[in-house]
Symmetry: C2
Subunit: 458 residues, 2 copies
């Protein structure tokens, strides 16, 4: 696909030459995020604006010429939400990467969308502050992408998701107008919550060009405990006991045996391979050792075969590293993977994992599960050989069957990865026809020409 001369000409009128990429070998590398099985087209052009005014010019041009626009951050998403559509303008925000303000009294940061999550986290850490959202891709992913997908991470069981940290936004609308929404204040209820509407909207309502984020004071370093179980059911029972007892762990993660082995194979971590499920719990309280002792006792009561508190922060960090490697390690088993993201009420976690095991057996597939267990948010990861058409078909079918099971158990098809291309048929199934009609009405209000990230969500 070559960009139409008029499109290029108009973009060149305002954007500098280095901000416009047209070489198909280069633009092709912007076609995909990290999701499997998601269609993508060839972009007509990739633009890399550095200012709000440049973004406005891109959107005015797109509106004038009716060209679709696909906004992108680091393309670490897992649902195809950032995939290019044929002949689109890919609007990459990665060059707008300035931290504009960090304010310890107001506990806010003001950032451009291309700021990398880890860069922000470290910058606020130096001021004694904490930006909790920590998706596994935090070393690469951008705040704009995090806002677009409403992403989560390990922190959520205590600190919640990205949405809870977005106070205000500047957004360039489809027609190029600039909207400022939300606030810099701790509270505010002036009108409908447009800010929250943009979070998780996958670039389909506008282009986020600036965000006011809430920060928290930095908590004490967390201490981690590992508990081994002879069955995932027992591990899930421990999760319920821990939450029912009123504990507030800073993370509560589960890795099943397949995941543990995959991580050992990839990184020689020496995790215990004979157990069926490994539970990691952590506390960042004033006395984490005391909290871990209480949680360890609950794990033992639920049948843990071994309970091992980390001796220090280095050992804790090693356990977290193992957890963070999980998805990559599972992908390595057969070269390809489909990462599901089903979230159920945590009381249903055991039923979901049991059902997933049944589905794996039915389709004769390896499905490893790692989970933000404290949130009931699981990532059943279907491992398959993409060269094998039959296995690929079975992978896709099992993936869908896990989502159906999640809905049956009162859950959602996506806890934190979003809908994108991957799950758009499933969105309608989850929210129903009335919900879809209202969502389409909102889309129509914000983007009457339908040029913003078309083909995603619905």
């Amino acid at each position: 696909m070559t960009a139409a001369p008029e499109l290029l000409q108009r973009l060149q009128d305002v954007l500098p030459a280095e901000a416009i990429l047209t070489d198909p070998d280069v633009t092709g590398s912007y076609a995909h995020d990290m999701a499997s099985f998601c269609e993508a087209g060839a972009p007509a052009v990739v633009v890399l604006p550095r200012t709000v005014e440049e973004v406005q010019h891109v959107m005015r041009t797109a509106t004038a010429l009716r060209v679709p626009v696909v906004p992108q951050g680091a393309r670490t998403g897992l649902s195809g939400a950032a995939n290019a559509s044929e002949g689109c303008i890919v609007l990459s925000l990665v060059k707008m990467d300035r931290i504009l303000e960090i304010n310890p009294v107001d506990r806010i940061a003001v950032v451009e969308p291309g700021v990398i999550n880890a860069v922000l986290s470290r910058a606020v850490g130096e001021r004694g502050l904490y930006y909790p959202p920590d998706p596994s891709s935090w070393e690469m992913c951008t705040i704009g992408g995090n806002i677009g997908t409403a992403s989560g991470g390990l922190c959520c069981v205590k600190y919640g998701v990205t949405a809870e940290y977005v106070l205000g936004l500047d957004v360039v609308l489809a027609d190029g107008r600039l909207l400022t929404t939300g606030r810099r204040t701790a509270k505010g209820v002036a009108g409908y919550d447009l800010t929250r509407l943009f979070v998780g909207s996958e670039g389909s309502l506008g282009i986020v060009v600036r965000a006011v984020l809430a920060l928290r004071p930095q908590p004490p370093q967390q201490l981690v405990l590992a508990a081994e179980f002879a069955s995932t059911a027992a591990a899930c029972d421990a999760v319920c006991k821990i939450m029912e007892a009123g504990h507030v762990p800073s993370l509560l993660e589960l890795m099943d045996r397949t995941t543990v082995r995959a991580v050992n194979d990839m990184a020689q971590m020496g995790l215990p391979e004979t157990t069926e499920a490994l539970l990691l719990a952590a506390f960042d309280t004033p006395d984490p050792a005391a909290d871990l002792a209480a949680v360890g006792a609950l794990c033992a009561a639920a049948g843990a075969t071994e309970v091992v508190p980390a001796e220090d922060h280095a050992e804790s960090e090693l356990l977290l590293q193992a957890r963070r490697l999980s998805l990559t390690a599972l992908e390595a088993i057969k070269g390809s993977s489909m990462i599901d993201d089903v979230c159920v009420p945590r009381s249903q976690l055991g039923a979901l994992l049991e059902g997933t095991a049944r589905i794996a057996e039915k389709y004769d597939l390896t499905i490893g599960v790692c989970a933000h267990a404290g949130d009931g948010n699981t990532h059943p990861t279907v491992c398959f050989d993409a060269q094998d058409p039959d296995e690929s078909r079975r992978a896709r079918e099992s993936f869908d069957e896990i989502m159906a099971l999640g809905l049956e158990l009162g859950g959602t098809i996506t806890g934190e990865h979003g809908v994108g291309v991957l799950k758009k048929e499933w969105l309608a199934r989850e929210i129903g026809p009335v919900g879809v009609e209202l969502q389409r009405g909102i889309k129509q209000t914000f983007d009457p020409l339908g040029i913003l990230n078309p083909g995603k969500l619905f």
Copy 2:
């Protein structure tokens, strides 16, 4: 206003006789919430449904006959959002008051909209759980009203506002269809966040008939400290120092001298009348005394003339009671009051209070200020004699001038009370024409006939 025979007939077809009120002496008592200076019309009829189906019938009838509908909870609101419009159906949800579920593992409650905040708080407390939102009216106000106005309270500095506790909703739409939105899970990002859109929408988008609320484990009982200051500026400086140092108080409240005296006059609380500002800080941590000692030292550094930690929970409760009486006590000074609700970044709190004092002087009025100081959320309360037209005019003008100052300082016209009738001209000023256009578009999507709480917000 008498209800048209056809309207009554249709309502009687489905609703029992006791659920339909038409006596003007009775229906007239449903015309107002607790805001001053807000227009209200006479309802044609008041309905008190007990089931979702009855609410659906009311909305279908209203749609068929194009009759406006004003949803109401306990009418404790402070912006006129629940005021009747002429000839409307007042749809009171107070009879739908069942707590349907409390689940300690999933940490959720499922409730009908008419459940009183304090009733829910006590019920979950008995299960070791905690529903934080605690508006001053918590003994009377309903969860449905709290959702409609996105209300706050004393808890917000640590626990946030109502919006953060609403996971899912059942909503009867303008045309009577039932929408289920959101989730029972800890996380979920399937599509646009319609749940959050309804929170704070003041009944203008649909009728909430069921809510899934997030709960937390019950924290330890809080311990309160009182600090006296010779100026509001010094008290605001202490607030900044406390937050900058990374403390997380469970409340951080300010009462100025006018407020302190009014509370003493009303309830003989024995608060110190010689100081200009009283700061209340509390912690519900494992060792609140230690936290209070640290905060006390910061208050002293900011110039506190006296720092008095409560000796026990009874003394703490007394101090909180004084704070909760503030608005009522201020109203008693001259018989009428206008309660503002301006929220600024907390670093601007001193500037807002200083400006408010200037405005009081300019208009020759008594304006008492109590504030959720930790949030930068102030309630400057203009005390006036409603029988005195000139004083009433000055009251209204000073009230507006305080909002203008709040916007100038980077704040919002409403931190937790909402827009309603009282501030609808000001909403446009805060969110700008693009914001208004988009909000109107959303309203149009949900309520194309404009029958839901017309004349509010915009």
